[in-house]
């Protein structure tokens, strides 16, 4: 039989001389293969082509795109979901399912999975009879739909439980976490996991074996029928999984319980009925505001990944940093050094105090070599990393560095001195960055002869966990400097947001009104625990008063000074904070702040509401009590943040409002299900925000609608621009 082949836009399809079908995908215009409408059309055409002729021995699906089988659905397709009706969305699901059903009903098929196989990509692979994954590091299989507030809509909730069991299927789809090839093999998600060179030939042998041993026929029957299972086990799974989900999400995210319910319901009926259940559940989820919010958060994250941090006028690739160094080996410097090691950099660490280096190197290596799965440091990795950490006690060691991140104590005079010393020690083209949360970049730049190569690089504590980095440009900072630092932050796995120099930069500035308002409410006699509870029920990971105790009241006080000096007309420093500091109540670190603590764990707080010392101090700085509903307390916490964000936009501190939402989500834990601060504002509506501010007007300037808000209200505009 002669071989025949056809080239389509996103795939090539072939009938080989030995009676096999092959489909190889390469989706143009994307770095990874994505399932677009074009792919769907091409796949249908490919199946038509293969169906035309004698029956095939087998069909092999693979990707010719390096590192990607299919990374998931095309985002452009998902974006339109919000504008569609329930019936239209169900129709889209059903169309996909119909296509995949054709694949499933065809010749014995196998997917070769070398690279990302996520979401719709995994559903495509599941529609094949068999799967071979590769051992390559880039191979990952998963169902991340839940992270967008959705569930797998192309038969994933139908096929997955029938293939690997109900419990494991719920875990995979409700967590959204990807698996490597070996783990997928253990789970039964793939039939084999082999090295990439062997994948194609192994796939063919697998099909031959599975056909001969009747596995294909057995599996087709198994996938079509209801999933047998013990009713007690089902009840237990339903109860325990629901409890785990509730604990993790606080009931704010509808997708995980929907996945559980869909899989439970779908596994009790045959596959055709389960498919209908899935489409209906998908459409219902797609219409939820949470899904829209999560999709937006995902989108602004993607935008950030592609944002060079400077205008389009700057041509060319940003300069790649190859020899970074850190000056100052304290907590922040150590964390920054560790994140460099983790990402494969050789990094210098200079501290004029040799003891700091001796004391901190073990913890740097331990953090850098931390194995998240094993929950311990990998000694072999730590040893290997030790060779990439060059420590020194003299700035002379910086001579060969192309980026120096200064991370000494937050004292302006000291920082200026060290920055000037660094500038003398490095080459003229070396970029110098300062890690600071409170020092104005413009002030620090005064110490330098060439401020164009200088900017702020504000990491958050703990560096290993906090992905946000504020890249702060002073008036003299060059675009090339910003672009290089932004690119470098991304290589560290961080999410850099470029902001103009201004007190508090972006994150602390937007945080300030929230913290300030919480203290004012305490002074009005509102229970701190009530404020924290309402903040958490809004979706924050912890309340503002708890946050004070966590940051440390002394630290919060000094940071507050900088901010109240700049924004004192709106935000006066509250006298209660220094009074607590004076009483030795610095927060968790001293065993008491607003609350009292025993031990260090998350359960450390002592449930005591009769703290006389706090009561006495509150009484001393008491404010007139107000009539306060839960909603008003919540409004008072979050509306001032929104107003501050508008001022930030007005002043051009950020280049795009989406950066604000990204920053509050990543740095402050603002709830992703609300889509971000500005998106939350839009969920209320501009007019409603104005209305809710009216009864708060007597609180002063901080509750007064800024001009931008009134203008938006007049124009019927929105907080978000996209």
């Amino acid at each position: 039989m002669p071989a025949t082949a056809r080239e389509l836009a996103t795939l090539s399809v072939e009938r080989t001389a030995d009676g096999w079908g092959q489909i190889a995908f390469v989706v143009p215009g994307h770095r990874q293969n994505v399932l677009s409408a074009q792919v769907v059309g091409d796949l249908a055409a490919a199946l038509d082509f293969l169906g035309d002729g004698p029956a095939l021995n087998g069909l092999l699906l693979r990707s010719d795109r390096q590192g990607s089988f299919f990374a998931g659905a095309d985002l452009a397709g998902l974006e339109t979901l919000g504008q569609r009706s329930l019936e239209e969305i169900e129709g889209l699901c059903d169309a996909g399912k119909t296509l995949l059903a054709r694949l499933s009903a065809g010749p014995p098929s196998v997917a070769v999975i070398d690279g990302t196989c996520l979401g719709g990509g995994l559903e495509l692979a599941l529609a094949c009879d068999l799967r071979v994954a590769t051992t390559a590091a880039h191979t990952s299989l998963g169902m991340p739909e839940v992270k967008l507030g959705l569930l797998p809509g192309w038969g994933g909730t139908v096929r997955l439980p029938r293939l690997i069991g109900l419990g494991p299927a719920v875990e995979l789809a409700a967590s959204g976490e990807p698996l490597d090839g070996r783990t997928a093999e253990r789970l039964g998600l793939v039939d084999a996991c082999v090295c990439p060179d062997e994948a194609g030939s192994s796939a063919r042998r697998l099909v031959e074996f599975a056909v001969a041993s009747d596995l294909v026929a057995l599996r087709r029957r198994q996938l079509a029928a209801a999933l047998p299972g013990d009713p007690t086990e089902r009840e237990f799974l339903a109860a325990t999984a629901a409890a785990v989900m509730l604990g993790r999400t606080g009931g704010r995210y509808p997708a995980p319980p929907a996945i559980l319910e869909t899989m439970l319901a779908g596994s009790a009926v045959d596959a055709a009925e389960a498919a209908t259940i899935e489409s209906a559940a998908f459409a219902k989820l797609a219409m939820t505001p949470v899904a829209a919010s999560l999709l937006r958060v995902f989108r602004i994250g993607e935008r950030n990944r592609h944002d060079p941090g400077v205008g389009e006028a700057v041509a060319g690739e940003p300069r790649a940093i190859v020899a970074p160094a850190i000056v100052g080996g304290g907590i922040m410097g150590a964390g920054i050094a560790a994140s460099h090691l983790r990402r494969g950099f050789s990094v210098g660490l200079v501290d004029t105090n040799g003891k700091v280096i001796v004391d901190n190197v073990p913890s740097i290596l331990e953090e850098a070599a931390w194995d998240r799965v094993a929950k311990r440091s990998d000694p072999a990795a730590a040893l290997a990393m030790a060779g990439r950490l060059q420590t020194a006690t003299s700035l002379a060691a910086l001579a060969g560095s192309d980026l120096v991140i200064e991370s000494v104590l937050e004292r302006t005079d000291l920082k200026q001195q060290v920055l000037a010393d660094i500038e003398r020690a490095v080459a003229p083209e070396t970029i110098i960055a300062t890690n600071t949360s409170t020092n104005p970049i413009t002030r620090l730049a005064e110490a330098l002869a060439d401020p164009s190569r200088f900017c702020g690089m504000h990491f958050f504590n703990p560096v290993r966990r906090m992905v946000l980095v504020e890249v702060i440009r002073g008036p003299a900072t060059s675009d090339a400097t910003v672009a290089a630092v932004v690119a470098h932050a991304k290589r560290l796995g961080k999410c850099p947001v470029v902001v103009r120099d201004s007190p508090g930069f972006l994150v602390n500035r937007v945080l300030m009104p929230y913290l300030h308002e919480a203290v004012e409410m305490v002074r009005e006699g509102i229970e701190p625990a009530r404020i924290d509870r309402l903040s958490r029920s809004f979706g924050m990971p912890m309340g503002p008063i708890e946050l004070y105790d966590m940051i440390g009241l002394d630290t919060a006080f000094y940071a507050g000074l900088v901010l109240s000096a700049a924004y004192g007309d709106r935000i006066e420093a509250s006298p209660l904070i220094p009074a607590l500091v004076k009483a030795g109540r610095l927060g968790r670190k001293t065993g008491s702040g607003f609350y009292r603590y025993q031990g260090t764990g998350p359960q450390a707080r002592v449930a005591a509401t009769d703290d006389e010392e706090v009561a006495r101090l509150v009484a001393r700085y008491e404010l007139p009590p107000r009539e306060t509903s839960d909603r008003e307390i919540t409004d008072r916490l979050f509306l001032p943040m929104l107003l501050e964000a508008l001022l930030v936009l007005d002043e051009g501190i950020v280049r795009d409002g989406r950066d604000i939402d990204l920053a509050v989500i990543h740095a402050l834990g603002f709830p992703p299900f609300r889509g971000g601060l500005l998106a939350w504002g839009d969920s209320l509506g501009v007019a409603e925000v104005v209305r809710r501010l009216e009864p708060l007007a007597d609180l002063g300037l901080r509750m007064q609608p800024p001009e931008r808000l009134l203008a938006l209200a007049r124009a019927g505009g929105r907080f978000t621009a996209e």
Partner: protein
């Protein structure tokens, strides 16, 4: 009602001629009395004592069968053989280690009885051992994810299965605490009256200060247990929503127990006085998520054995029901309609402790001693088992 089948071959009738145990220590790295004593040493002490107390001719012992759930480290390498060697048994005596998780040493007794009944082997030393502080139960276990395809991850947490029983059958937290309190009360009273003295083999351990201590009392029993103190505890397995706490779960424990099983004919030949006859045994599988229900199904199956023809639960004088969790024990008692006045008269594992692999032989030891002291005739030992199993054995006291 005594069971007197017309023809019973003494050579194929398994009997127990001695049973004893170590006291049970808390599996605590600083306070546990056995923190510096190896599990195999505890087992050796129990085996030596059982052999000595029985008066059996060591040369006649064919096999040592010990249960242990963590067969690694100090309990690795077939610990039953090692213990036989350490206990000075003849080199010709064989040894095998069995694992039916919590039911391991009840299984050891059962399979010795089966060997006797089948004429396969006669004199056995049986028992079990666990050292949950040295060998934690979750460590070094790699359950295949495809096992979870038949059940779900939650069943790996025994505490969650206990929560599920409590929720499904409406067993309140208060009910569980009242039950646990009674278990402690009975155990403390039995200890105070010296009722455990005959069954416990004193061994050396260490007190909290680190000095040598003769251990002859179970360490987890709280004479001062109170409902108030129990009510203050946080749920142990299901934060916020749960009803099962540390007080209503069996404590993690270290300990060992041993017994001597042989045919009635061999006992007569050696001039030994059997404590009891092993009448029948049963094991069963249940849904892993409902592992706590194992005893219910196992006991019902046991009642269908031909040897129990004409016997009903009400004929059974005493029951030792292993208490993994209060909710689990309560559910079994209710479902089997057992009379609480006949169950765990000297307290259960909630108070005494639950050294997994040793517990089956421990409850058997306690059962036979309680039967002897109370003059009862029929005694039932039953346990629930992780991953969904149940085991039940019926004993008839012989005079």
């Amino acid at each position: 009602m005594p069971i007197k089948p017309p023809h019973r071959d003494p050579a194929a009738t398994p009997v127990i001629v001695a049973a004893c145990r170590t006291a049970i220590g808390r599996a605590h790295p600083e306070k546990g009395v056995f923190r510096q004593v190896r599990g195999d040493e505890l087992a050796t002490a129990a085996v030596r004592a059982a052999v000595a107390r029985s008066g059996v001719d060591p040369e006649s012992i064919e096999d040592v069968v010990l249960g242990a759930t963590q067969q690694r480290g100090e309990l690795g390498g077939n610990v039953a053989r090692c213990v036989g060697l350490m206990a000075g048994l003849p080199l010709a005596t064989a040894g095998t280690t069995v694992n039916r998780l919590c039911g391991s040493s009840l299984q050891a007794i059962a399979q010795a009885a089966h060997a006797v009944a089948a004429g396969g082997a006669d004199v056995h030393v049986v028992g079990g051992v666990e050292h949950m502080q040295h060998l934690p139960m979750e460590a070094a276990i790699d359950i295949h994810p495809r096992v979870l395809a038949r059940t779900s991850r939650g069943m790996l947490s025994m505490g969650l299965t206990a929560e599920h029983l409590a929720a499904t059958y409406g067993i309140s937290r208060r009910d569980q605490e009242v039950y646990a309190l009674e278990s402690h009360r009975r155990a403390a009273a039995a200890t105070a009256s010296g009722l455990f003295e005959d069954e416990i083999v004193p061994v050396l351990g260490h007190d909290a200060a680190g000095g040598i201590l003769e251990v002859s009392h179970d360490q987890s029993i709280r004479a001062d247990a109170s409902l108030e103190a129990m009510a203050a505890l946080e749920p142990a397995f299901l934060p916020k929503f749960g009803s099962v706490t540390a007080a209503t779960s069996a404590p993690l424990s270290d300990g060992a127990a041993a017994a001597v099983v042989m045919s009635q004919a061999e006992a007569a030949r050696q001039g030994l006085e059997p404590l009891a006859r092993i009448v029948a045994t049963a094991v069963v599988g249940v849904p892993p998520a409902a592992m706590g229900t194992g005893p219910i199904v196992a006991v019902r199956k046991l009642l269908t054995r031909p040897a129990l023809a004409g016997i009903s639960l009400s004929d059974i004088d005493l029951v030792e029901l292993n208490e993994a969790f209060a909710s689990q024990a309560i559910h079994c008692i209710r479902a089997l309609e057992l009379d609480p006045a006949r169950v765990n008269l000297r307290g259960g594992s909630l108070a005494l402790g639950h050294p997994l692999g040793a517990s089956g032989a421990r409850i058997t030891t306690t059962l036979l001693h309680t039967l002897r002291d109370s003059g009862g005739r029929l005694g039932l030992a039953t346990m629930c088992i992780g991953l969904g199993q149940g085991i039940a054995l019926l004993f008839e006291r012989l005079e």
